[in-house]
Symmetry: C2
């Protein structure tokens, strides 16, 4: 089967999920109609086997996650996802794998009405690069740079499940609940859209709070104090790790949460929560003192030195 | 050096080359301002070492070519290139390689005023995926589907140099002139823009005329007759291969030309040529009889059966 037939067979159905597609796959380029008076948000993320997902991850989950991590970036900008391109490198053209992969991709694409509008398929080690395009009204996008002293540092959902799943997997234990969070992250698109007029700043948590929050602090010229006792943990995580100190590593530095971290003025919290269908937890405060510090519920300083995951270190 | 520092150091300068960039690299996503009343053209191409460029190709040329093949797709739509994302997979973070690669990328990006607006860097075998965004006035883009019976089949520039360079390289011969065409293709952006109101259909020649023209024929529901004696050849190619039959393989099926193939009504040819700063050659005619046939200058049928390059065959 040649490249063109491959793309047509497995991915053709992914093209029609969004409005604004004048020409989808099948010409030299796709043609899209941007919404008037909106800005275009563009992000690009690569997933590599053994680095961004464990060897042995199902093709369905890989398809889901490759799109999810990109939609999560759009969510952090408060942008409405619209379209994406897919560059897929595969060791071989396995029809079963491609069917599963495209099904996972499609499940998430359909949920957010994003259309596949271009791509390339090459033979090589397994790697998936997606560029996602979203839209937000001009001047309304969420940025990293707007955090203000006194803002609450908030996170959606819970933290640490994905990293704990991965650590357990390395020890030979498969925890189905935790693995679901590693393999099928839910990009918080609705939360990003709902909070773009209420939050001062936002970032998505791909490298863990300790790795990602500093980007907001640096861009905004502020610091933060995080209460490690306030970090939200799932029932599944608490069951595995009843002690806070055992959970903390996964919650602060684990990565792969794909929750949003948002800086919101305290007097807007109730309004923010009322707009969300996902829990919003206050985990700390923005401070004038630079740097990121950790305290516990009693106010005592906690030493935590574990950077977020980075490539090429 | 971590991923973020890498990107900043070598690619930061590539972000400012275009208007319409509200936020470049350094937030969760870039923010762009599309031009009112324009459609967005989107294309995505991956280059892999040893497959899309020879092992040993200079980093400068790889950077150039990775962007060139994408701009060539936008050119074939008659779109004005604006922005691009870059996903770079590298075996190691070699500062010298990165400096050269980004210089090649930048040289072409600056020429066409396109800005780098996002990307990802991962460790792995050498692979470059670019998604390029362009704009064209609504309803004005060049398509594959508009060819009409009687149209001249035209190509810009000359054909076959890149494929001949590669074949010679395989035999241990480096032909500097031919290699320049393989390593530094010139995307015909100006030609695509100039001809979007004159041509009925267009495609860029990445897989060779015999591989790419059928896409136009299929999309338009027509056939074509190509005069193999009319295929334009460079001086360098004629010097290496004085006989037509020796050149023909490279010119029809070689690939990597990145010239445009356009279907233009005969009475618009003079007008078309007057708008171009690149030669435009008529190589055949669109016919009502389906399929692609080859003849020589005397009208005798030529048998040529060598499909364009495809992956996963």
């Amino acid at each position: 089967m040649d490249e063109f037939a491959l793309i047509r067979r497995y991915f053709a159905g992914l093209t029609a999920a969004s409005s604004g597609v004048v020409v989808g796959i099948g010409d030299d380029a796709a043609l899209l109609t941007p919404t008037p008076d909106q800005q275009l948000a563009v992000t690009c993320d690569t997933l590599i086997e053994g680095r961004h997902f464990p060897v042995g991850t199902s093709a369905y989950d890989i398809g889901w996650k490759a799109l999810a991590v990109n939609l999560s970036d759009l969510a952090a900008m408060g942008a409405q996802p619209r379209w994406f391109t897919l560059a897929l490198s595969l060791p071989q053209a396995d029809p079963g794998w491609l069917a599963e992969f495209s099904a996972g991709l499609r499940a998430l694409a359909d949920r957010h009405s994003v259309a596949l509008v271009g791509g390339d398929t090459t033979r090589g080690s397994l790697s998936i690069t997606i560029t996602a395009l979203g839209e937000s009204p001009a001047g309304m996008a969420l940025r990293r740079s707007g955090a203000q002293v006194g803002d609450c540092v908030c996170v959606t959902g819970t933290l640490g499940d994905a990293a704990a799943a991965l650590a357990l997997l390395d020890q030979g234990t498969r925890d189905a609940e935790l693995l679901m969070r590693l393999n099928r992250p839910e990009p918080r698109v609705g939360a990003g859209l709902a909070l773009r007029t209420l939050a001062h700043a936002a970032i998505d948590l791909s490298d863990g709070l300790s790795g990602d929050l500093p980007h907001i602090l640096e861009a905004s010229g502020v610091g933060a104090e995080i209460d490690v006792d306030a970090l939200p943990a799932s029932v599944a995580l608490r069951r595995r790790y009843p002690l806070r100190d055992a959970r903390m590593r996964y919650q602060l530095a684990g990565g792969d949460d794909y929750e949003l971290c948002l800086c919101i003025p305290p007097d807007r919290l109730d309004h923010a929560r009322a707009r969300l269908d996902v829990p919003l937890h206050v985990v700390g405060r923005i401070t004038a003192v630079r740097g990121l510090r950790y305290v516990d519920a009693s106010g005592a300083t906690i030493v935590f030195n574990h950077p977020g995951f980075r490539h090429f270190e």
